[in-house]
Assembly symmetry: C2
């Protein structure tokens, strides 16, 4: 067998073991009794260590070197080999001890963070966070040498392969010069129109679930190849053929959970549409978190918060909950779903104010990683950043620097992908509508075939065969930019 | 680190990976969408291959040799090392290709068996079963050399370590000389008493579930360390700290499902009571399927089908379903739960006729493994065996040799453990009552503390530190015999 084919066989096993990790995580989040925590940690550690050992063996490296001097048949093979090398670089930059120390420190920190957040006590979690940051810096430094980039970029690369701060800085600067004034405009327009009316509950969880499942199917989700369940923090897990979406239901409001389900369905469609012939190979995986978020936001923000979709969905919502009255009118629901309001919490933010939350975190995490900011000064830096960017000052750390799990869980370099994804979503939806001008009208009839087909061909089916930028360029004719995002905001809120 | 401690560390990882396998199996049986089948097969194959490779490396063997020439501190360590060697022997007797061929053949055969059974078409599955049998013989032959026993015993050893046909033949001969006449006696006594009255449904599944959960808790099951779910074939899976019991509910009868739940709870208690300090080590695992079945049958047959337990449970059953009338009387429920009737289906059999089903399968599988019987002649051999042992002839193969999954799934050598387990259960319950004469009275008050405590000390906590026979000898003062089982049947049915 050629070195390359032997590598394919090894990566197939690595992918399958990684899928086992994913399934065990899903189980842990959805239904594991608390008594299972320590055994589950042991199972996950055994799997991760095994995968790490596979990737760091001498043999593995020799195969990689040998394969790289082979002549490979097709561009997919070449791209696959490139991704194999990328995976090797990430695994081999850090030794097993550091991997284990990070897993342990993140778990400990995350646990303390849950308490610290509910007790509004940043000092309590500070030493744990310091340990996580220190280890993340250590890993970032090691990877930055191998990847020939900055430490921050090396961490970012784990979520967005090839992501560079130059591009992010430029795009975010563009937004920062636009958003504050635009927010004023949007708020003024909203004030003119008057308040949207929120439907009043209680909304039965089973009915919410049925409505969510129905709309998932409208979007093309196949329940023979996936599930919808409940977890504290909604996510999209599972594997192609067995995608596991979660949500949580509040009895007093169905709108948030429902839109969350549609968001996760966007992620699910990406996974379901990955190239089947490259399943279990690095090149067959989703490209990165920017494109992943672009798919969920294209579905949620671009398609499903539109007038067209809500005119289709309003009668279904009314039917699901026996709703009557003007609050169930699709125009009211549209205003509800496009309500703008500066707030403290990122996950509750609308799409006009959301970028400010992300830009704040991006600035802070870069400063922390580069030792330009001390963790002890984080709460103040956070709060004054909120004033600068959004004009509001969080009253406490619970609504400030304690709100997100990411840093506490070791996910440094993740945040920018949210807003890059939002920009990519606008750009892709604009391109899809140029290719198929009747997409909005079809959405108003609940027909997503054309839109999802376009997403599948242009994004899903490309796997990791090219960079995010190249995939976007091919799909939209231009590199990632802020223009379509700004135009989208202008059109919807301006 | 000493060779022995290095082995402990490797077995810890192997155990954790095996637990991952178990969890993925549970998920597959309980909630995986059909679309996940091929990915799940890939995940399980990757895990099993990884475990097999760990156990068959040269290094691993060297460690084992080195550890065996070390002087170990305690008897648990020595027992652990013995179990490590046992595990090594089983893994190293067969090469990875044979393991994979067996997994593949069993999966294919099991799938065809499901159709063949529902279509009553043994010929359809025959070629697949031939392949499974051939590979099982091959594995058995290889293992028999390493274990210095017969091919059948080598297969049996996978489920009941150290199990020998001489012991089984003697015990089963004892039963065969007793049961046919005793069955006549039991049927005559039953006829005298008149028919028990079955409560009439429908019985709401949620109420059945609540009742089952309540009685599980009465037995000592901790829902912070386990779950009860629904699957087509009830089983007890999961791991200590996270035990996963399943059942299925029929709306027209609650009694079967409920007793099934109690049976699986017996298995669960064993797993929950294993020695915590030997978790993840071979010596910390349950001893084998004979003792495992003894724990489920002790709970189900000895304790929960007793007059004492049913006098406690009858009011709870009435309350759960709003029952009134004589059918809810505990004496009627006792007669219902101890009804005897020769039938074709093993899983529906009562405890008087059950051994005949097992003895038939034991005779047949030994003949098949030893090439004394051709698979094509199995249906006839089955049916005439049923006439010999129970006096009834199955009208078709669906109710004959197609009924059980075991052989089709590659589980050759498993069947005798059911009846050996039933005998062990009687022997253990008798010994427990000698030690604590008030156990029956406590059961009538729903207090299982003393009984389960005795089971924990005498069985659960011993893990795999001794052989089944030695564990039984220590717990009951005698080797496994048929006397207590016969005495139990005499007392209940004679």
């Amino acid at each position: 067998m050629s070195a390359y084919l032997e590598l394919e066989s090894r990566f197939r096993r690595i992918a399958a073991l990684n899928e086992a990790v994913g399934m065990l995580h899903w189980d842990m989040s959805v239904l594991m009794p608390t008594g299972g925590a320590s055994a589950r940690a042991e199972q996950l550690a055994a799997l991760k260590l095994t995968i790490h050992e596979m990737k760091t063996s001498t043999e593995f490296h020799d195969l990689l070197e040998a394969a790289e001097s082979d002549v490979l048949d097709g561009s997919w093979q070449r791209a696959n080999l490139r991704e194999m090398r990328r995976s090797w670089v990430h695994a081999n930059a850090v030794d097993a001890d550091l991997v284990e120390a990070m897993t342990r420190a993140s778990s400990a920190c995350e646990m303390v963070w849950r308490e610290a957040r509910s007790e509004n006590d940043f000092a309590k979690v500070l030493p744990y966070l310091e340990e996580v940051l220190k280890l993340s810096q250590e890993a970032g430094k090691a990877k930055s040498v191998a990847l020939e980039c900055s430490v921050y970029e090396a961490l970012l690369d784990q979520y967005e392969p090839g992501g560079r701060t130059k591009q992010i800085d430029d795009l975010f600067a563009d937004l920062v010069s636009f958003l504050p004034d635009f927010l004023e405009t949007a708020l003024a327009k909203q004030a003119e129109q008057g308040e949207a009316i929120a439907p009043v509950g209680p909304f039965d969880a089973d009915r919410q679930c049925n409505l969510g499942r129905h709309l998932m199917q409208v979007l093309g989700f196949d329940f023979g190849a996936g599930r919808l369940d409940v977890s504290l923090h909604p996510f999209c897990g599972g594997v192609p053929g067995d995608i596991r979406i979660t949500t949580r239901y509040g009895e007093d409001d169905f709108t948030q959970s429902l839109m969350g389900v549609l968001h996760e369905t966007g992620h699910a469609l990406y996974e379901m549409g990955l190239p089947e012939e490259w399943r279990y190979q690095p090149v067959g995986a989703a490209r990165g978190m920017v494109l992943h978020e672009s798919q969920s936001l294209l579905i949620e923000m671009q398609a499903c918060r539109s007038r067209e979709f809500l005119s289709f969905a309003a009668p279904l919502m009314r039917g699901a909950f026996g709703g009557t009255g003007p609050e169930w009118n699709h125009e009211n629901l549209y205003r509800l779903y496009t309500h703008v309001e500066p707030s403290f919490i990122r996950v509750d933010a609308d799409e006009v104010t959301y970028p400010a939350h992300v830009i704040l975190r991006y600035r802070l995490e870069r400063a922390l990683i580069d030792d330009q900011l001390a963790l002890v000064d984080l709460p103040d830096a956070w709060n004054s950043g909120m004033v600068d960017l959004l004009g509001v000052r969080p009253p406490d750390d619970m609504q400030g620097c304690l709100q997100d799990i990411h840093w506490y869980d070791g996910a440094w370099g993740y945040f920018p992908t949210y807003t890059l994804g939002a920009m990519a979503a606008s750009q892709l939806f604009a391109a899809a509508k140029v290719a198929h001008p009747d997409i909005p009208e079809m959405i108003s009839r609940g027909d997503f075939g054309l839109l999802v087909g376009w997403m599948r061909n242009n994004i899903h089916a490309t796997g990791s065969s090219r960079t995010s930028n190249d995939i976007l360029l091919a799909a939209t004719g231009k590199p990632l930019g802020a223009d379509d995002f700004k135009a989208h905001l202008q059109e919807r809120y301006g």
